[in-house]
Amino acid sequence: MSDDAKTVARGLQKRDPELLDRLIEQYQYRLFRYLVYLTASRERAEDFFQETWIRVLERGHQYDGKSKFEAWLFAIARHLVIDWQRQKKMQSLDALTDPEDGAPMEIADEEGPSPLRLALGREQKAKVQASLEQVPAIYREVLLLRFQEELKLEEIAKVLETPISTVKSRLYRGLESLKGVLQGGAA
């Protein structure tokens, strides 16, 4: 357990507001980006961002500092999104996003740009945006955790609560999918 993780765990146990302020500041970009990838909506990502930190405060005593804080944070955010989707009587995140099972996660407006494109920002290269939109969310999520967050496979498995073998298989498929769409093919 690193000293930093220990300090965070101790601070969360005490519900230290200074520590929480610092964590919010420090992880705001990464958490928001992850939520945008998960929900494909900036507005929803903003709501979940707030809720995630409230949950971090309330469940802080459960973080033992043995794993990376960001992995625990992402797991909380992911649970909130899944709970919300279940409340909305939709399918689970996995079912929603598994390309074999059905539609991708974002609820796109066919007339206008997709929520993910709007969420990612207009300055992005159109090709990359369009490519990412075509990558099923279940793969997009692992690609983000691996290549942007640079989490280890074990850490991703913890966030997703799935076996490492599943994480690997999603990563392989996600990479293939991304390569395919970047080259102009279908995901």
Binding site: Y29, W53, L57, K125, L178
Partner: protein, 162 residues
């Protein structure tokens, strides 16, 4: 060169990014890539894909962090205000259970006496005695449930407000 060799190279190219490859595999792949333009192109495509993914940035909404910080601080305050009440509740439960244990033989006799005097069946007054024991736990559970319900309502209210 057989398709199997290209397939192996293709798998190693992806494996290198996903979970890493051994030095022996690295050596084999390097040699293969020197000879095979098709697989070298695959390396470039994979690099491009990962690079594109890393290049994507998400603009942050204004005052995202400060809004979250404010909400968290308010919640910290709420929780700290509620802490003494909860402690008092558990203390009351503890005292109640301790007194319950200490007075159990007398209460049992009292229930037995009332049962005999009123002619109530044994099972009924025994159940009455059991219920007597569960009263502190029931009161605590009701208080906690009410508190949770209030928290949920407040959460919804805050969501609407913000």
């Amino acid at each position: 060169m057989s398709e199997g060799v290209h397939a192996r190279a293709g798998h190693l190219i992806a494996q290198e990014r996903v979970e890493g490859i051994s030095p022996a595999e690295r050596h084999w792949l390097d040699q293969h890539l020197q000879e095979c333009e098709r697989c070298a192109e695959q390396v470039r495509t994979t690099e491009e894909a990962v690079g594109a993914l890393r290049a994507v940035s998400v603009p942050l909404p204004r005052s995202l962090a400060s809004r979250a910080q404010m909400r968290v601080r308010l919640r910290v305050q709420e929780l700290s205000e509620r802490e003494p009440q909860r402690r008092a509740l558990w203390l009351a439960c503890g005292i109640s259970w301790t007194l319950g244990i200490a007075s159990a033989p007398y209460v049992w006799r009292a229930f037995e006496w009332i049962g005999h005097r009123t002619g109530v069946p044994k099972l009924i007054w025994e159940m009455g005695f059991g219920l007597w024991w569960t009263i502190p736990a029931l009161v605590a559970a009701v208080v906690l449930l009410l508190e949770n319900a209030r928290q949920t309502d407040e959460g919804e209210w805050f969501k609407e407000l913000s």
